[in-house]
Amino acid sequence: MQLQDDPDEGRYRAALRRWLSDNARHAPRLDGEPDASQIEAWRAWSRRIHDAGYAGITWPREHGGQGLGPAHQAIWLQESSRAGVPDHLGVIGIGMAGPTIGAWGSEAQKRRFLPPLLRCEEIWCQGFSEPDSGSDLASVRTRAVLDGDAWVVDGQKVWSSYAHIADWCILLVRTDRAASKHGGLSYLLLDMRAPGVTVQPLRQITGDPEFNELFLDGVRVPRDAMLGRPGDGWAVAMTTLSHERGTHGVGLAARLDAELRAAVALLTRRDARGRCPADDPLVRDAVAELSIELHALRVTNLRALSTLRRDGAPGPAATIAKLRWSELNQRLTALVGDALGPAALERGEAAVDRGRWSFARLRSRGNTIEAGTSEILRTIVAERVLGLPSSR
């Protein structure tokens, strides 16, 4: 066992650090939900990432990727977080839609969709959850009925990040109401400009419209714009949701590590009387506990990554990554908020660190809900890792 890079990893990291130090000035600065001009800057930054060969690191070369392993992906996630730059804007495309198209798509679909996705010429969003289908995803009711050469789609999706700027959507629909709950699902590739698609922003507790609602009213989707066959939807969706297991957690932990460093800088900043929050032994204890937990999470993620590389699957420890990250992020934002006192209530340019902490504290409540609630994740650990009997 070793934590250090092997020689190849070390060279890759060194080259990436050089590239980041030369290019970080081009990255957009994102403190909250980006506006239209920030999105344009982010697109340009994403193309720069692509042109330098850092988009689709683990994708096969024939799909326009770099054909490298999860360890290289982890190095990108660690170093880009350390440099404080955002990742590629097309996170849903690169992390979810692209790999699913790569695994299930026809050659024509791969040629059509994968290159523009990596170049950030097309943005993807996800249409899985519905108002009545959250944790119970297989219960989706958005309906697609075959009419000649097209599926006619009616229904409503929710929690679609980037839908307001997206060109395409991976859409989970019910095509067979007579079939079983899981067996009646299919997976469509939806053109967001098709008639009948309406996107409505969903204002969050931060005040920002981070997510969207997606209304589908008689939308015609070409019959062949499907991944897999009718009825394969659940299996295709599982490919989407399982991709990047093992490396996703590395990215989350790396971002949290950067947050902790920013928090430490704030907590050790001395006021005019020479005092700082970190003078308080209870604050020190809480920071130490977070630091220990973050180290534990970081090494756990690297263990999962090593297992992924050796066995092709990340092993049981990978289930911890998101569960634990979300709770730690909430604890960190609460710690900073409590230490700041009334200043923690301020938003906007004049606020401490331009209001990032008040935003982060509110935003973090969603962490234990989005992408699998903590309750669902604990149930997954109990049933799939510990082998306890199903609660259902």
């Binding site: 066992m1 070793q2 204890d285 630091s291 090494v299 263990r303 309750e375 510990l386 082998g387 009997p389």
Partner: protein, 371 residues
Amino acid sequence: MDLTATDEQRALRDAARELLAARMPPARLAALADEPAGWEPAIWSELAELGWLGVAVPDELGGAGMGLLEETILFEETAAVLLPAPFFATVALTLPALLSAGAGDLVADVLSGRLRTTFAWADADGDAALSEAAQTRLELSARGPDVVVTGSKAWVPDADRVEAFVVVARDDDDDELALLFVRRDDHGVELRPLTTIDTTRPLAAVELREARGRLLARGATARTAVQAVRDRALTLAAAEAVGIGQRVLDLACDYARERRQFGRAIGTYQAVSHALADVYVQVELSRSLVVWAALAVDASKPDADVAVAAAAAKAIPAAVDACERAIQVHGGIGTTWESPLHRYYKRALSLAALDGPPARHRARVADAVLG
């Protein structure tokens, strides 16, 4: 970067599991732990023959030349069966001091199985934490290679299962820290065994009345040796905590699958299954910190003492918590003497008493993070 176990490490774990399952099945452990003697000295020569005593001792000194990481594997496994033997006392607490002090002859005796040792660091009236060993007020009173020492040491683990002690003292002449090697059969040594809850790792007070000892190290060498003991023993205590946490989690999961109430296995109730999921998460996070600490110590990293503090601060309370939750999941039967859980709980509490409250370890981490 690669954190998967090597073939050698996997073979070591498999061999340890196999031997310990054969030698220390739960019924045997329960019987031994309730007997006055409390252990079978015969197992010691077996451990010596298997090379378990010198896993991390360099080849040229007769060891296997592996590292602390490999030792953590053995301590996880021995803790999982609560092996009653002075394994922690000899290998975790004393060998690092003998190695650090360059006492090659004593190291050879330990590896051969002829010499079992323990570490006597705590003063009866001082801070009993292992990390505070260098604060001892016990004074030695003669100079040269042989010294005489009078005073007492408290909370000495496995004192009646060993042949000799490494005693932490200071020189009355110049106040320098010193390490002495004192044989238990010296006429100036008297043991006062304590009645404690963890009978698999008993504690005793050691009275020294002009006891004769060999000076192993003094000054900077002694301080380095005490630091080496602290780093290695705390990492191995954290490894034991992982072994305990994993074992009681397994017991609780078995029980939650079998025990039925209201017509269903209690593991179907999420109040039960989510509590066990939390234990699993804590055990895995602790395991990661043990790996980090062991790698850092093996590579003499500058952040090794922080990594060790982190492992101890997390893994040991997590083991206590795992035992408490496992008892809760077992319900009434979990609170009986018949259940094995109390023995694991007591060992976890014994580990928690080794080096003071976890807030002290966190304070060390806080200093590193916040300055």
